[in-house]
Amino acid sequence: MSATARDLVPPESRAPSGTPAKRVGSGKVRRLSRRDKVVLSLMVGLPTLIQLVFIWLPTVMSVGLSFTRWNGLALGDIRPAGGDNYQYISQDYPPFWPAIQHNMLWLAFLALVATPLGLLLAVLLDQQIRGSRIYQSIFFTPVMLSLALIGIIWQLFYQRDNGLLNFLLGTSGTPQAVDWFGDSSINIWAAMVAATWRHAGYVMLLYLAGLKGVDPSLKEAAAIDGANAAQTFFRVVFPAMRPINIVIVVITIIESLRAFDVVYVINRGTNGLELLSALVIQNLVGEGQVIGVGSALAVVLLVISLVPIVFYLSRTFGRENRA
């Protein structure tokens, strides 16, 4: 009987209570029957195996492949390359630094525009206003759409010759018409607006749930103390939503690292729309497969992603671990 097996005890059977249904041996602790242990190991083992094979093994392999040179054909062709791939992407690979900048810009835009907009909508809709549900449904609609589809829908809106935006600006058909997704100096902004369309609705929804969870007596107490609406919100309500705030911070960072679909639909993440995730894929598909370079880019993405992931996990599970 291993230590693990001895720990496989339902929490309720720790406290002595009632008539013990099953006692193994002399009954120090009520243990699980052999059959229960088999069942439990399957219940844990199968999902864990799936996670290891499809998530964690590939993650480790990404790290491994990033130190090799490989064209993706025969497994025997994998050659060790040391840090060459990293040196290459940081010094000789032109889209790398623009991609880092664009990912940071994307994060800043979501954090400074989309998320506050979602919070503002939530605060306004949390008041008792007529038609609140209708407004909520409208703002929420894009959240159901895939980012790929959002890219297509905004393409129709942004096109140079036949897009609505150029008609509305009166530039359609003139030389001043802007190709919002094609012009490399502005297309990242156009793409971020399209992403905001979805992100703000998502943030609104989460904050609406958060605001409903804030104890109304907190607000009343603040009002009695003479705080105005803004003071009440920023000093009392917002800090009280701390758990939701953490989730929103993490979601905003992760969404900005995951941004892929929109730019891939527009132009596969080239010409002003370089993002780390898109560069990874550009190096994996197409003629010149350079798995090592793609993996090095994936590892950069992984390392950056681990910051919000570890932050979130330590917030969520830290308490339980200590207990």
Binding site: D36, I129, I138, L149, L156, I281
Partner: protein
């Protein structure tokens, strides 16, 4: 977050507060109406474009009201554009993936939340972290694993796992499992320990506790998660893009990207395709809005 995830609050959104009299918020209404109009413009424009035959827009321009309005573009996209097939492909991927992910996640969640043992928190952390990774981090190894996994040609015409639905289903399932396990384990933790205690006294084994006591009580959480996962997996663009090479096997969300090239200069048809792609999510949303919203807020860990 675990506070947000209790059986009581899972599906019941707090009812609109009553009691105090409604105030007037003219400024708020003006702002919200302006925002709502801006929010709807891209969608309305897509529907408007889709309803006009290309002959009308060629003659009168896209920014006009003249000409015919009909469903010809939808009919063409459905029959010639292959949307009937793409939607069916989405079903083939979505249904097994959602059922499997809920099945495995519920077992895992049960084991980590109702049974106390050494590594349950460690495993739960591993599952949750896996869901937060950007999918592109895993792309190269998963692609190569699928490519080098030899299977008989009778099973897959590529001789490996590329270009099969199975690999897309498996990876979607694995990727969504962490999220579902996290949500379900929080939900199950909130269920009283007395429930399984009583069963234990009756001599019920682990499987009966799971199957007959905990599962039925988790129905609200399953409803919310199933709705959410159908939409997540239906909306998944990346995994089919990576694994499936034949265009006619793509699910609709990924296929529409190819149509962008095919329907070049026929924006009306592209718009119709986009609207067709939205319709299933819209139906799910309208029928199961409550479950969908509950799922999103109850698992607000979703990255």
């Amino acid at each position: 977050m675990s506070a947000a995830v209790s059986p009581g609050t899972a599906t019941s959104r707090p009812a609109t507060r009553s009691g105090s009299r409604p105030k007037r918020h003219y400024g708020t209404h003006i702002f919200l109406t302006a925002m709502a109009v801006m929010w709807l413009i891209p969608l309305v424009w897509a529907v408007f474009t889709a309803l006009r035959p290309i002959a009308s827009t060629n003659e009168h321009g896209y920014f006009s009201l003249a000409g015919d309005f009909n469903f010809d573009n939808f009919i063409q996209a459905w029959s010639q554009g292959g949307f009937a097939k793409y939607l069916w492909n989405s079903v083939i991927i979505c249904v097994p993936a959602v059922l499997l992910v809920l099945f495995f996640a519920s077992m895992m969640a049960f084991a980590v939340s109702r049974v106390s043992w050494k590594f349950n928190v460690t495993l739960l952390i591993m599952f949750t972290a896996g869901n937060l990774l950007p999918p592109q981090v895993l792309a190269a190894p998963l692609f190569e694993m699928a490519k080098h996994f030899q299977v008989p040609y009778s099973f897959s015409d590529s001789g490996n796992m590329l270009n099969t639905y199975i690999i897309v289903i498996a990876v979607n399932m694995a990727f969504q499992m962490g999220f579902c396990t996290f949500v379900l384990s929080n939900y199950m933790k909130a269920l009283s320990a007395d429930l399984t205690e009583a069963a234990l006294v009756d001599g019920a084994g682990i499987w009966r506790q799971y199957r007959e006591i905990i599962m039925p009580l988790c129905r609200p959480a399953f409803a919310a998660l199933a709705t959410l996962e159908v939409i997540f997996i239906y909306n998944d663009f990346f995994w089919p893009l990576l694994f499936i090479q034949s265009g006619d096997r793509l699910p609709v969300t990924t296929a529409i990207n190819n149509l962008q090239g095919e329907f070049l200069n026929n924006y009306n048809l592209l718009a119709a395709g986009a609207v067709i792609t939205v319709i299933p999510t819209l139906i799910v949303y309208l029928l199961l809005q409550r479950q969908f919203v509950a799922g999103l807020t109850l698992g607000s860990s979703k990255g």
